[in-house]
């Protein structure tokens, strides 16, 4: 049967079925690409047991999570201090810091030269963050550049091809035969927009995602202790808790949340000094609204 011989609602039904098939098969292609395992004999569970806190943090939330974990861990152990409002991180003087992870070491080393804005500090340790990622690539937990682009482009191309293959010729035919084609155009446009979903970056392999899940489940004891007895945690345990569970991991502190706040981009500094988000909130809380012209005297 030639599908192009279908017309009206019948063709639209066929087109939607084709799009559905295209989406499912695109996801399957992505899954296949991310499932390629260079070390199939090493299970995700075995590899999860060997992850260091910053590798775990990267798996949970990429570079940002790993960097924030380092800041919060060092702050929790009073090696650095984080100024939420000034968005700065400062080394606490005369504080010994043995047994630091290489990422923590790099951060401490950079801070020896003076306080840094969190965003600048992150740039300064980007080399070490890249090393963490490289190790994950070696363990087949994170995607290398080639796999990353394949996992984005191939499903996208496949879905886009199906979208176009069954829409463009039919629209041309409809125009030639002077048939209505508005709904088909609309569906094709929607499918075209949806196809960008498949361009989503794939940072982790399937094994990496699985290792993250296993590690989180196996770290339930750490989570319990971090929430109830955080003072008993070593530097490494603290880092693992922040890395896996983020801001709410450790009871009674806001180091991670402060670092996350300080890392956010500084609101734009326009001529009036009042960007929409920055000034609005500060004036709103301190003197009940009224931005511009000070705080109402």
């Amino acid at each position: 049967m030639n599908p192009f011989e279908l017309h009206g609602a019948s063709y639209l039904t066929f087109y939607m079925s084709a799009l559905f098939f295209g989406a499912v098969s695109a996801l399957f292609i992505r899954h296949l690409i991310l499932s390629v395992d260079r070390q199939p004999l090493v299970s995700a569970e075995a590899v999860a047991r060997q992850l260091d806190p910053y590798e775990a943090a990267y798996i949970e939330g990429g570079n940002d999570r790993a960097f924030l974990t380092a800041c919060a861990t060092l702050a929790r152990h009073e090696i650095v201090s984080i100024d939420r409002t000034g968005r700065e991180i400062t080394l606490v003087p005369d504080k010994e810091h043995p047994h630091l992870h290489e990422l923590e070491q790099t951060l401490v080393f950079k801070l020896k030269l003076g306080p840094l804005l969190l965003a600048d500090a992150k740039k300064d340790v980007s080399g070490t963050l890249a090393t963490v990622r490289r190790r994950l690539v070696d363990k087949n937990l994170a995607t290398d550049d080639s796999t990353k682009s394949k996992a984005s482009l191939m499903p996208w191309l496949w879905f886009a091809a199906i979208t176009l293959l069954f829409s463009v010729p039919k629209i041309e035919m409809a125009i030639a035969e002077n048939r209505p084609h508005g709904f088909l155009v609309l569906l094709a446009v929607i499918a075209g927009i949806m196809s960008f979903f498949f361009l989503k970056k794939a940072d982790l392999t399937n094994k990496g995602r699985m290792a993250g899940l296993i590690l989180k489940q196996n770290s339930s004891a750490l989570q319990l202790t971090a929430q109830s007895n955080p003072t008993s945690l070593s530097l490494r345990d603290t880092a693992m808790a922040y890395g896996l569970f983020g801001a709410m991991a450790v009871a009674g502190d806001f180091f991670f949340a402060d670092a996350a706040y300080a890392l956010r981009p500084v609101p734009g500094t326009g001529g009036s000094g009042c960007s929409s988000s920055g000034c609005g909130s500060s004036c709103g809380s301190s003197c009940g609204g009224g931005c511009g012209g000070g705080c109402g005297g």
Binding site: S220, A221, L222, L224, S228
Partner: protein, 455 residues
């Protein structure tokens, strides 16, 4: 790190979230064989944390313990109080059973004690009179609890800083009688035994001789501290040498071809560094390793399982009439410990006052631990309201302690739903206190809906 001492006896520890990581690490080394959980910590089956499930997967045994059955609670027969108590006991025992089945606990344990009288909740395990009347009360209550249990019941001796007058027998005979008569297993808390031997001046060795050690299911050890000549079994201080010495004594007293099967450490507060706690467990293991252990563990297990299945019929036990005087005396004791009434003449006033103070401190600590950010909820000391009744320190911690004491005065009974509910009730109290005059709070103490107490 010191190499772990291998012993045939199973070594365990009380599972607390604060110790979860330490427990997991020790279990991974194979130096821990079981954990004990408190049924009251897990209101619903889904509250069991993943960490416990992981321990189970690693082959650790999980034993379910309880502190709330109040098996020694005397209620006047035929009264609404008795019906209420039985309903509550059934509910708690059913919950205990549910948790035990969920974690595959070989048995469940509770204490030979009472924790509440009427609707007054003491928040602590209180001693029962060593009399035949009390044995009858226990028999009836144990029978009711067993109706709900599909696993054997094991009973524990408690610690006490004061003695109750009118005892018809010594503690050891009483405990032995209760355990034998009800066909239960025995959980021997050696630190409680040491505390009682020290505080009430009797010989721990003679006590051990009287116990039916063939029924021994497991052993508790915990730290404590000496205060004003009394030993307090706090579970928040290091393990004392005396408790270890008693463990050696116990092993010597075990019947031929039988051995202690499980020994565990309890720690509930002021959690020390991992190494310190591991040191205490290693010390216990060292004592156990010194002694020859036979392979009698399985026999004890089987014995307990059989014991649990031979239930007394409730109807038979119902014939035991609760002594009215016993019930009145329990109420007087609870009221005096909660500071709601003067210490009755038949009790040792000084010791009861000390015990009352210890209970109040314990309640304060547990509330603060259950809700660590409580001080953040205190209103600023603005010059009016409940926080200015007395001279109050500006220090947040002291201000919190002070307001908690005021709360205890208004609500002497511990919240029946536990320490977290107690902390929430305290928050409600301070909100109400902000709205009303402090004096009126005192005059008309607002009570828990299920637990009305007038001060």
């Amino acid at each position: 790190m010191v190499a772990d001492i291998k012993t045939a006896v199973k070594l365990g520890i009380g599972f607390r979230p604060e110790l979860a990581l330490m427990i997991e690490r020790r279990a991974e080394r194979g130096a821990l064989h079981f954990v004990e959980i408190l049924a009251e910590d897990y209101k619903r089956p889904q509250d069991i944390p993943q960490a416990l499930k992981n321990l189970r997967k690693k082959g650790l045994e999980i034993i379910v313990h309880s502190t709330s059955l109040s098996l020694g609670q005397a209620e006047q027969k035929g009264t609404s109080g008795q019906k209420e108590y039985e309903k509550c006991l059934r509910k708690r025992a059913r919950h205990l059973n549910e948790i035990a089945l969920l974690v595959d606990s070989p048995f469940v344990s509770d204490h030979i004690a009472f924790v509440r009288s009427g609707n007054l909740e003491s928040g602590h395990l209180l001693p029962v009179e060593h009399s035949a009347a009390m044995q009858a009360v226990l028999r009836r209550n144990i029978a009711i609890a067993r109706e709900m249990l599909q696993v054997p019941l094991v009973l524990e001796n408690i610690a006490c800083t004061f003695d109750l007058p009118g005892a018809e027998m010594d503690e050891a005979s009483f405990v032995a009688g209760v355990v034998e008569e009800n066909d239960c297993g025995l959980l021997l808390d050696l630190s409680n035994l040491f505390a009682n031997a020290h505080n009430l001046n009797f010989s721990a060795a003679e006590y051990l001789e009287e116990l039916p050690l063939q029924r021994l299911a497991y052993v508790h050890l915990a730290g404590g501290t000496f205060k004003r000549g009394l030993y307090h079994d706090t579970h928040s201080h290091p393990l004392q040498e005396q408790s270890l010495f008693l463990l050696e004594e116990l092993i010597k007293h075990m019947p031929t071809n039988m051995s202690v099967s499980r020994v565990m450490l309890e720690r509930d507060d002021r959690f020390p560094p991992e190494d310190e706690l591991n040191g205490e467990l290693d010390a216990i293991a060292a004592v156990l390793a010194k002694t020859e252990v036979a392979s009698a563990c399985a026999k004890i297990e089987a014995g307990n399982r059989i014991a649990g299945q031979s239930k007394l019929s409730t109807a038979a036990a119902q014939s035991a009439v609760a002594d009215v005087a016993l019930c009145v005396r329990q109420e007087e004791l609870v009221k005096s410990l909660l500071g709601m009434a003067a210490v009755p003449h038949w009790l040792h006033e000084k010791r009861i006052r000390e015990a009352a103070e210890a209970l109040s401190r314990k309640r304060l600590r547990t509330i603060k631990r259950a809700h660590p950010a409580l001080d953040k909820h205190l209103p600023p000391d603005s010059g009016t309201g409940v926080f200015n009744l007395f001279e109050v320190d500006t220090d947040d911690e002291k201000r919190l302690d002070h307001s908690l004491r005021l709360y205890f005065a208004a609500f002497p009974s511990v919240h029946p739903d536990g320490c977290y509910a107690d902390s929430l009730a305290f928050l409600k109290f301070i909100k109400t206190a902000q709205k009303q005059k402090a004096e009126s709070i005192y005059a008309s103490a607002i009570c828990f809906p299920t637990n009305e107490v007038k001060v």
